[in-house]
């Protein structure tokens, strides 16, 4: 229900906002004005936005209100405010990708394809979001724009690299945001900020007109506070696009009509071995979800540790190749932590990178065999709840490890072979943590159905922070 009495739409779902705008119960302009006011009020705390597209948003809202007044049929996301990680092209703005260097780029001539598709569906862009520099990040910290801050504890990390997206959705600034996920950059901030995140199958959603990181691993996807909102946005963004060479030539496969099927009849297992939680909170989150689904047996994802290592090598090398010219010309303008990783990646012998690519194909074949016996696999999304901003190390299984490199411990072996995943937030106190629902390629419907069933049971939910 809309909180119309309070005049505050901060915690309404995208679905309820679209329904209210479509029915004429509230104007899109009113929704957008309330959103812009919230951003002005709360974002100085969260530091999630790097640009607010106020004029553009109000113009879109007025056009929608005019269409509604003429009783025109409004699309599925009519009047829903959304924001995008600042590696998405936005016409008229340079595409920062979290960097200082890209501020010198000319303004993008056209929006990213997914931004266009959401706007075609009636959603209204309100701005661009903070992120880790060039997406080589799991923390949500940014040396140029400052860290995005966790809405559940402003002293803690959002996770990254789509940190602004986690903060903006989790903090009630927008009901919907888009991010990217190369090794976990949607699932990690979804976990630490307590929101839902969808990383679709590699090749499902077009990446056209976004700033890349690792071409063979880059995915884009939505953040939201409900499964239904994830599904609405996902359905609006599906479909082939020749402008992304990796985009699969598949017809859209809408999931909204399938959500109500829930998890009935699905075979669900828990990832064992490498994926067994290393902290009490990760164990509790997976146990809670598994119990609700009656998932009472473990399944071994073969050689997951090797998969993570292979993803690490490919990321370092491909990412370095993308940045080599900039590293030659402007190395001092990078965040030193990112620069030194990229330079090391440039020096990685090609023979070792090719071995990682060969391992990747072997691993894919082995993991796909598992889906003959199960429909979905559960695993933690992060090894722990949100660390403190600036924290360099944490203890996992009594071993001191660097935070920056290890927050994606559980996400990397999955995105490595492009499997679809929904990260579902378990509202533990005092901080949330997410569980990955992993499905076979092109079976986003399965992962979303399981998420929807868990949400209906009250097991997973985006907790509302006391901001």
């Amino acid at each position: 229900m809309l909180e119309t009495a309070a005049g505050d739409f901060a915690w309404d779902s995208a679905a309820s906002i679209a329904a209210a705008v479509t029915a004429g119960r509230v104007g899109a302009t009113h929704i957008v004005e309330a959103t812009l006011a919230r951003i002005r009020e709360r974002d100085p705390l969260l530091n999630s936005f790097t640009a607010v597209t106020e004029r553009r948003a109000l113009a879109c809202a007025k056009a929608l209100d005019a269409a509604q007044a003429k009783r025109e049929r409004l699309p599925a996301l009519a009047g829903v405010p959304f924001a995008v990680k600042n590696l998405f092209d936005l016409a008229g703005l340079p595409t920062l990708a979290g960097s200082k260097i890209n501020r010198d780029l000319p303004p993008a001539p056209r929006d990213a394809a997914l931004t266009e598709r959401l706007e075609t569906a009636g959603a209204i862009l309100v701005g661009a979001l903070n992120m880790g520099e060039y997406a080589y990040d799991f923390t949500g910290e940014n040396i140029h724009d400052g860290p995005s801050r966790n809405p559940h504890d402003l002293n803690r990390m959002t996770g990254g690299s789509s940190g602004g997206a986690g903060a903006a959705v989790g903090g009630g600034l927008v009901p919907l945001a888009l991010g990217s996920d190369t090794n976990g950059s949607i699932r990690v901030p979804a976990s630490l900020c307590g929101v839902f995140g969808l990383k679709p199958t590699y090749g499902r959603l077009t990446r056209a007109r976004t700033f890349p990181f690792v071409a063979s691993l880059d995915h884009l996807g939505p953040f939201a506070r409900t499964t239904r909102d994830l599904a609405l946005a996902y359905d609006a963004m599906q479909g082939f696009d020749a402008d992304d060479p990796a985009c699969a030539d598949r017809a859209a496969e809408p999931v909204m009509p399938l959500l109500d099927r829930g998890a009935d009849g699905l075979r669900i297992a828990v990832a064992g071995g490498y994926f067994k939680g290393k902290t009490a909170e990760a164990v509790a989150a997976v146990d809670c979800v598994a119990a609700a689904l009656g998932a009472n047996h473990d399944i071994e994802i073969p050689q997951a540790e090797h998969a993570r290592s292979a993803a690490f090598i490919i990321t370092a090398s491909e990412g370095a190749s993308l940045h080599l010219d900039r590293l030659r010309a402007r190395a001092r303008d990078y965040d030193p932590a990112v620069r030194d990783r990229l330079i090391a990646g440039a020096m990685t012998p090609a023979s070792l990178v090719m071995k990682a690519q060969k391992f990747r194909r072997w691993y894919r074949e082995e993991v796909l065999k598992l889906f003959a016996d199960v429909d979905a696999i559960l695993a933690p999304a992060t090894p722990c709840t949100a660390p403190l901003i600036g924290q360099q190390t944490f203890k996992l299984d009594e071993v001191e490890l660097p935070v920056r490199a290890n927050l994606g411990l559980y996400t990397q072996p999955i995105s490595f072979i492009g499997l679809p995943v929904v990260a579902v937030p378990v509202p533990l106190a005092p901080l949330p943590i997410a569980v990955q629902i992993i499905a076979a390629p092109w079976r986003e419907d399965v992962a979303l159905r399981v998420a929807y069933a868990l949400e209906a049971q009250g097991v997973v939910a985006a907790p509302r922070p006391a901001l």
């Binding site: 030659r328 330079i343 391992f359 074949e365």
Partner: protein
């Protein structure tokens, strides 16, 4: 490319002791530093000396991960997946 019969990936890790892996694992820190300097020259990268230690640290981290992958036995006809299709 046709696969040769019996040349499929081995089902379990076959730990092979090969010179390449041993080199990657045992490379001393000072040789990594020398490798960083030589690679920077080959790649046309100008490095501030203050960056060397951090770059060498990151390179050693990558090589540790590479050593793990390197020890995994794959057949000669294993195809790489540089452009992945799910």
């Amino acid at each position: 490319m046709k696969r040769k019969a019996g040349r499929k990936a081995k089902p379990a890790l076959a730990r092979r002791s090969r010179p390449a892996r041993a080199t990657a694992k045992r490379r001393p820190e000072n040789s990594t530093g020398a490798f960083v300097a030589a690679s920077a020259q080959a790649l046309g990268l100008t490095l501030d000396p203050a960056w060397h230690a951090s770059i060498a640290f990151n390179l050693r981290l990558i090589l540790r991960h590479a050593a793990l992958v390197d020890e995994f036995a794959l057949p000669d006809d294993a195809e790489p997946a540089p452009v992945f299709h799910a």
